[in-house]
């Protein structure tokens, strides 16, 4: 299972997927959500394996 961290919450989702699929599965918007793995920004199309841990970050517009 892939460990997904988003806003201080953790989720487990099946592996062999992509950040885009995870974002959609969690009901988030791929247009405004970034994914990082091991401290690096990754493309939403990156292949995510069973043992991966990714963090999702919402893009911030206010100011």
């Amino acid at each position: 299972m892939v460990k997904v961290i988003y806003k201080n919450s953790e989720f487990q989702v099946p592996g062999n997927t992509s950040p885009r699929k995870i974002i959609v599965r969690l009901g988030l918007n791929p247009e405004s959500t970034l994914a990082t793995r091991s401290g690096k920004l990754i493309s939403l199309e990156t292949s995510i394996g069973q043992q991966d841990e990714i963090k999702l970050i919402s893009v911030v517009s206010g100011g």
């Binding site: 405004s32 401290g39 920004l41 893009v59 517009s61 206010g62």
Partner: protein
């Protein structure tokens, strides 16, 4: 500039900064000789301006399209109740406040909307741009203009309890479009209206932006490159590397789509406000005295600093010298355009 032409640094004002090995006399002198553009002078931009003026940055160009309201005061530190009562233009109130903080700093207040028509001119003569805007439309314009003209800029955003910061240096790392290739669709990201904003989060983000600016302007370099993501409410501070995308339309292929879209929207509903901004279709300079004389025949008019406040039976309008108007008390774009046509004229 020769050594003798340089402005002397007063001995006491910056003493706590000059004794920092990271700044020193040399860094202080560079700050005094520096010029920045602060794009947006609300929550983030206001604190950036405050910190940079106190630090002794020589010239600060302030750009904002808005005026001060009571709901700003929870987080916009340059303004007070008198500014809100008088509906002062934000740049005008900010400039006065900055002068009272540090009279040596030169400010250039511009009460205008940043558009594809003027953004390149706004970069003239500045060493760095700081993002104090509250929308992606303007940020993508700034990104295009800065990459095109080789200017660095410091992205920052804040909403709710979270915020993010990233320095964008042309030809040296990622740009905004490497991070987020296209702006999120309108209505798809939270706004201050729907999510609110914590003033401490504003403080953290603006402080990181101002510190990034001080590093850059003193010649200390960018430091750690990437995206900082913070949530001070939950004591969370994250960092991630962002690689430059060689196929990025902006910094990779040199296509400046936002800059080249010369038309800008006529009307904008304002974040967190029951009002609509109407902009003229081309750049103009209004004769506010003449307009005031005309409007006095239709309702109550008051001039507050740079702006005209107009109240009639069917609406309330705040009019800016660049021809923009805020139609208050409505989110109905058609009605807003109608009132603009009726009273300001198209």
């Amino acid at each position: 500039m020769t050594e003798s032409e340089r402005k002397p640094i007063p001995p006491d004002r910056y003493s706590r900064q000059r004794i920092l090995s990271e700044v020193g006399d040399s860094g202080q002198r560079k700050l005094a000789e520096s010029s920045v553009l602060i794009a947006g002078c609300g929550a983030l931009g206001g604190l950036q301006a405050d910190l940079l003026a106190r630090a002794g940055v020589g010239k600060i160009r302030l750009v904002d399209r808005d005026f001060v309201e009571l709901s700003n005061l929870q987080r916009q530190i340059l303004f007070d109740e008198k500014d809100a009562e008088r509906h002062m233009a934000k740049v005008e109130a900010a400039s006065a406040r900055l002068h009272s903080i540090n009279s040596e700093v030169e400010t250039e207040p511009l009460a205008i909307d940043i558009t594809s028509r003027n953004v390149e001119n706004l970069l003239d003569g500045v060493d760095l741009v700081l993002d104090g805007t509250d929308n992606f439309e303007t940020r993508y314009l700034i990104n295009d203009a800065c990459i095109k003209h080789g200017k660095s800029w410091v992205y920052g955003g804040v909403i709710g309890t979270i915020g993010m910061v990233m320095l964008v240096e042309p030809r040296n790392g990622a740009c905004l479009r490497c991070l987020v290739p296209d702006p999120p669709s309108p209505g798809s990201v939270p706004t201050c209206d729907t999510s609110g904003v914590l003033n401490g989060a504003v403080g953290v983000v603006a402080s990181l932006q101002a510190t990034t600016a001080l590093r850059f302007l003193t010649g200390a370099g960018a430091g750690r490159r990437g995206l900082v993501h913070v949530d001070p409410w939950n004591m969370s501070f994250d960092f991630c590397k962002v690689l430059r995308d060689g196929d990025c339309p902006c910094c990779g292929r040199g296509e400046f789509e936002f800059l080249e879209a010369k038309s800008t929207s006529w009307t904008t509903s304002l974040c967190g406000r029951n009002s609509v901004q109407v902009s003229p279709p081309r750049e103009i300079s209004l004769d506010l005295a003449a307009l005031r004389a005309r409007l006095e025949r239709a309702g109550m008019v008051e001039k507050t600093g740079l702006l005209l406040m107009f109240k009639a039976a069917d609406g309330e309008i705040v009019i800016f010298p660049d021809g923009r108007a805020m139609i208050m008390g409505t989110t109905d774009v058609t009605r807003a355009r109608g009132l603009y046509a009726k009273y300001v004229g198209i």
